[in-house]
Symmetry: C2
Subunit: 253 residues, 2 copies
């Protein structure tokens, strides 16, 4: 097994947020494998092959990438954000565990990237300034019972909550259900952020409260952050408020 | 107010993991403010001023940076990792909220970076492949009661848990207490990772179980990850096992 497979994270969108390590892994790859939307962000060099696929076939894509690497190719599996956060790294690991035994001998690496919640937080100020959790609202691979149990646990222990995959055309209802559930366990005054396309030139931030939050502003490119009890706004005259969660649990008066 | 302040995250250590956006913000700054260990990672250009400080004076450092920006300087506040995750962004926001009212009119930005848990996860495989939370074990700014409540909530809802600031000379006991607590709420077979200096040339990974975990391998440069009930190892003959958490809550037999 002489092939090599690197799972890379492009970051949230802007090329200026892709690490040099990822850029180098993309440059040296013979084959790029990934969801077509992410591959479209990578400039091909001469002789490099692109293997684009739809968004819903992570395991097939991972097996294809491993098979290419097993043929001796140098493969980059391309994720948005960070490959380890609700992206391709876990799918590749699953394929290694259940697939061809020789795949375990391949040189497999993961190159981290800026995941969506960090870009969303940077856009707002510092809402992840205290303990936080990240939950994917997609119920393709887990039950709503598990998702709701985690939402309630996060609310009860006063974590800041980052919601990945809050809504898609196939799943329009989860986010509204999540807000309903959280409204029973958290103050209606809790800060809620909708960060759309954070880390790109079309980034937009909407700030509201849990009492007023609806699923309407969310789509596939939105990251939702629900504050802890101490998450707060700093009003400004000439710009959007800054949103942050103090490091201390007891805020100075 | 014509000054500008950008809070940047250098990433976990390796210059190849610093985003071009951060490199550019550092290049154009007239003044760099930060903990001396992080500032030492930045090459100074001619005419640029470095304002280094000790690790324990975040608020003083933030106020100093804001005062420089208010004088019209272009200031970069330098964090390791991502500035929004247990780093300088929240401290700067606190200083803006409580300080000179004119600071609210400054051009304040945050440039995200690769935070330690992402580099640690990449080193291991994909341990953050499902829902996860990040908890700082430092009790400088919050009580042990809050920390333990969050650990128990995270265990009960089966989150993967990333522990920042697991141990320091001033706080050697928290991590052992955290393991003790988690042992009461999670299986002894739960995977535990100690990732030291992940994202640097001296990165090292130790893999153990919760039953066998002690605080010994942890220091200021260590990130600890405690798996969920499904986090697992893929054994390999010629390399360290890969560690990952499947995306699905029910693992295929």
């Amino acid at each position: 097994m002489t092939g090599k497979l690197t799972i890379v994270g492009l970051g949230p969108g802007d090329a200026e947020l892709t690490t040099p390590a990822v850029t180098e892994a993309l440059r040296t790859a013979t084959d790029l494998v990934g969801y077509e939307t992410y591959l479209a962000r990578v400039a091909l060099r001469d002789g490099q092959k692109r293997h684009a696929s739809d968004n819903r076939v992570e395991i097939d894509r991972a097996m294809h990438a491993l098979a290419l690497a097993a043929e001796g190719r140098t493969v980059a599996v391309v994720s948005g954000g960070d490959p380890g956060v609700f992206a391709m790294a876990a799918a590749v690991m699953e394929a290694i565990e259940t697939g061809d035994a020789r795949w375990r001998d391949l040189d497999v690496r993961v190159e981290p990237g800026v995941t969506a919640m960090l870009a969303a937080a940077a856009l707002a100020g510092a809402p992840l300034g205290a303990d936080f959790c990240a939950i994917s609202l997609s119920d393709n691979l887990k039950s709503w019972e598990t998702i709701s149990r985690r939402l309630v646990a996060a609310a009860s222990a006063d974590f800041v909550i980052a919601l990945y995959n809050p809504a898609s055309k196939a799943r329009p209802h989860q986010l509204a259900r999540a807000f309903e559930l959280l409204q029973r366990h958290k103050s209606g005054a809790t800060v809620v952020l909708f960060a759309r396309a954070a880390g790109t030139s079309s980034a937009a931030l909407e700030i509201t409260t849990l009492a007023n939050a609806t699923s309407k502003p969310a789509d596939m490119r939105t990251l939702v952050i629900i504050g802890s009890s101490t998450t707060r706004l700093i009003e400004r005259t000439a710009a959007q408020p800054l949103v942050y969660t103090p490091r201390a649990e007891v805020v100075r008066p």
